[in-house]
């Protein structure tokens, strides 16, 4: 994840990966209509290797290409904040990105079957989390040990069951060694339980002695298990002093001798039991050894191995867990010169290309990248990709980027190949080669079969059409831009009135886009003073308009409002003759006040984003307070209407003193004058009587 603020300091005692979300921030707003972001932005994730992507997503895209994962977008209904706002599929909120692993079914939870059998959270750090598994294995070993007298088996199992692992306690549990064990094998099992008790109680020295004494046991389970437990005990003792007052890990306080002994113990175990009961776990714990020892070179290699061998039962965690673990344990505080894995180097270099990179004091330079060349010997294409990305995101030399990137082929686009071509799109755009960019986008579309690729291309193409003043092409019958959200945004902000009417009449147009077009057309006309056109275009409304459109055709009689208005057709007709008619101006204000503003008509996207520039039908940024100000200034206005405008203008600032009706900043004195004017000039009106304060 790795936003700047997210340097992962805390860790857990177990190997299961921790997840570090950065902060107490809240969810994402609507995605932005662009595919070019220079800074980290997990709310606007992209399906190509972008510096702005969360590091986990970039790693996952590479893993999808390697056949380890598949990913799709899962837009639950909770994510769609408002029905009338078009939500693009690309960019997307990382939280909606859903991974699947072959053989695991949907997601990504813990692969451990025992995950639901204890009261620990997924990833919660404690050597006690798997105490339940240990009990089961022990019982099985006792029951299958032929040389063990039956009554001793019962005692041993009872003693093991009585162990109540309590890793957070500061005191040892009240557990007693089993009595009545006389056989040699029985005594070995008793030693094992004593060791386990010491281990769970945090008495690692005693545990170590017990486990070590069993290394030559004739019982194969005891022999193997105690060898493995020697490693775990040493690993736990290495980190005893490593936690700060608030449970935070300080690598400098890890006991290096114990850590080295733990590493030797695991390697020796793996040497003797390469396919043993605990070999998967031991390999995972070696990652912990490397991490605690700050050995990032071997840690990255171990992650590469674990990710590469995922199908072969090489891990007891899922790919998803490994990605989280790599993010938290490796990428969070990486020393770039230690990393030799091309995959991780690439992820880190991309992070360093962000405008808000992990260490702003030492931004990535071209020389840094060039110095890494040898380390990419096994993957030169990835190296060239990074150089090209550098020229696009950092030093703004798009021509050099283009020279580094391959031409499009007919093959289906992997995410990496798609990323290469996306960089070409960005480079062509930056160097204003719009025709070539247009051609490339169209050529990519048939090969863009993986999730979200097509949506990204459509967005890029729509943005290009808008910049090059070809919005009409987006709505042409053979346009490849079919995405509903993209079309809606262009309807709301970019299309001319004529194009909107075409959308409304086009039987092939999406129904939601048509509603957006109707609302946009009528709203912009009414608030923009195009009263004649408004009246004419009312005829485009269907006979049973949807909720958001219905107010345009309400006949004033039925409206349950404090202020009587005729129909908006009548309002427009009156205003056509007298643009300052007070009641009519108030009534347009009523439309906005009662029904709100929809289809994004109260805010225009940033200039860089789809819909943010080159509009053929710009809105006027209507504010109902402007209408009230107009009426207040009109001394000849109808008394009721002027009283109402004063009343509403004052209320625009209720209750906080901030303007809720527009952006005008009007001094308190003026608001006071409105209030006094209302009370003095229109004392008999409902509005004067009901207004007790001003704000």
């Amino acid at each position: 994840m790795l936003r700047n603020r997210c340097v992962l300091g805390f860790i857990f005692l177990s190997l299961i990966s921790s997840v570090s979300y950065a902060s107490g921030d809240y969810g994402c707003g609507l995605p932005r209509g662009t595919i070019f972001f220079r800074a980290y932005d997990s709310c606007n994730s992209l399906p190509f290797l972008s510096p702005s992507n969360d590091s986990r997503l970039n790693l996952e895209l590479l893993l999808i290409d390697a056949g380890k994962l598949t990913g799709i977008l899962n837009l639950s209904s909770e994510n769609t904040a408002s029905r009338d706002l078009a939500q693009l599929l690309v960019p997307f909120d990382l939280e909606s990105w859903q991974l699947q692993e072959p053989g695991l079914g949907t997601d990504t939870g813990s692969a451990k079957t025992s995950a639901n059998s204890n009261d620990y959270a997924q990833g919660e750090g404690s050597r006690c989390t798997n105490a339940g598994d240990g009990l089961e294995a022990f019982n099985k070993a006792v029951n299958t040990a032929a040389a063990l007298p039956k009554e001793e088996s019962t005692i041993l199992i009872a003693a093991r069951s009585a162990l109540a692992p309590n890793c957070s306690s500061t005191t040892n549990s009240n557990w007693n060694t089993p009595q009545g064990i006389h056989s040699a094998l029985g005594r070995e099992f008793a030693v094992y339980i004593t060791g386990a008790n010491a281990f769970y109680s945090g008495d690692f020295l005693a545990a170590l002695n017990n486990f070590k004494s069993l290394k030559n046991s004739a019982n194969p389970w005891l022999k193997e298990t105690s060898r493995y437990m020697v490693g775990r005990t040493l690993l736990n003792s290495a980190q005893v002093m490593a936690f700060g007052q608030w449970g935070d890990l300080q690598l400098s306080n890890v006991n290096k001798d114990n850590l080295k002994d733990a590493e030797d113990a695991f390697n020796s175990y793996l040497h003797d039991f390469p396919h043993g009961i605990y070999s998967v776990s031991a390999r995972g714990l070696l990652r912990r050894v490397y991490w605690l020892g700050d050995d990032q070179a071997r840690l990255a290699e171990a992650f590469d191995r674990a990710l590469a061998n995922s199908e072969k039962g090489a891990n007891n965690v899922t790919i998803h867990d490994l990605v989280q673990e790599a993010d938290a344990k490796l990428l969070a505080s990486v020393k770039i010169d230690q990393i030799r894995s091309p995959q991780f180097l690439a992820i880190i270099d991309l992070m360093r290309m962000r405008s808000d990179g992990p260490n702003p004091a030492t931004p990535l330079t071209l020389a840094d990248l060039e110095a890494q060349k040898d380390r990419f010997a096994s993957n030169p294409a990835l190296y060239k990709y990074l150089l090209a990305a550098f020229h696009i995101y950092v030093d703004n030399k798009p021509e050099q980027a283009l020279a580094l990137l391959p031409n499009l082929t007919d093959a289906r686009l992997s995410y990496f190949a798609f990323s290469q071509q996306t960089l070409r799109v960005l480079a062509l755009d930056a160097s204003k080669q719009f025709d070539a960019e247009h051609k490339l986008l169209l050529q990519m579309l048939p090969s863009a079969k993986l999730p979200l690729q097509s949506e990204q291309l459509q967005l890029a193409l729509a943005g290009l059409e808008l910049r090059t003043e070809h919005v009409d092409r987006v709505f042409a019958p053979d346009s490849p831009i079919r995405d509903k959200a993209i079309r809606t945004i262009l309807v709301e902000y970019s299309a001319s009135a004529g194009m909107l009417r075409q959308r409304i009449k086009d039987p092939k147009e999406n129904a939601d886009v048509i509603v957006a077009a109707l609302y946009t057309l009528l709203y912009k006309e009414l608030t923009g003073g195009k009263y004649q056109a408004f009246q004419a275009d009312l005829t485009l409304l269907p006979s049973h308009p949807s909720d958001l459109l219905a107010p345009f055709v309400d006949n004033g009689e039925s409206k349950n409002s404090e202020y009587r208005c005729p129909s908006l057709r009548q309002v427009a007709s009156t205003l056509q003759c007298d643009g300052n008619d007070a009641q009519s101006l108030n009534c347009i204000g009523e439309l906005v006040r009662i029904y709100g503003v929809h289809y994004g008509q109260d805010s225009v996207p940033p200039k860089t984003d789809l819909g943010g520039s080159n509009s053929l039908f710009p809105g006027i940024d209507y504010s109902r307070l402007d209408a009230y100000l107009n009426v207040i200034a009109n001394k000849q206005a109808d008394g009721q209407a002027r009283a109402y405008a004063l009343y509403r203008a004052v209320r625009c600032y209720a209750p906080s003193g901030n303007n809720g009706c527009g952006k005008q900043d009007i001094p308190l004195d003026t608001r006071k004058q409105w209030f006094q004017m209302l009370q003095k000039e229109y004392p008999g009106t409902t509005w004067a009587k009901s207004l007790k304060y001003y704000w």
Partner: protein, 241 residues
Amino acid sequence: MARFVLLSLGLLFCAPGIAASTVDASNYDAFWLWSGVTPQPVLKQARCVYVLQGQIEAKHGDESQVRFIAQGPTVPHNQQADVWLAYRVHTLHWTPREYVILIAQLHRWQRAGNNVVGVQIDFDAHTLHLQEYFEFLQQLRQRLPSEYRLGITGLLDWSSRVDPSQVNRLRGIVDEVVVQTYQGRHTIDNYSAYLPRVSQLTMPFKIGLIQGGNWDAPGYIAESPWFRGYVVFLQNPRVPK
């Protein structure tokens, strides 16, 4: 007690030479310690710390399955400060197991000699979900051992989205709401516009600030009988050493 602390804080802000607008953590005594944030020396003076402990989320694609993901530090020992365990909640559809884990975590912290006082739920309650959220909190309150308090966070505009009857209902369920004046790592630009509504809350509330962010305390906040002080969200220094 809480009010006394506040009054002295108010004095601090008025003292010459102190930049009232930048949140200096050393002027406060209650903090959030979030995942990925390295503990700072200022925690030594903490009277109260909200520590992130986990995230409860629906499994993507299957709303009926819930994941309880550990976050934050391993359990420390013998903290003097009052500790609230904080949880980021993305789904309200908990199974019995989520309650079991949460309560087990409270006990683990308590057993390690820490002074655990309550649970804080960090949930983005859209207006749409408010009713459901209240029912969830009621459930949690019923299952939570009575010695633990229950608190929630709320965004600044939260106080203008709940009506008085809802606040009254909430007051019967939770012990406090901490209203956050920041998003991401920055103070919300027009935070002061929301404060009049916040000050009208009729339930115990605290104001959440972000370390290094902005805060100019209007006098009327401290005048509210429901105001219980500040909590500062700690963040790592911008440029690593």
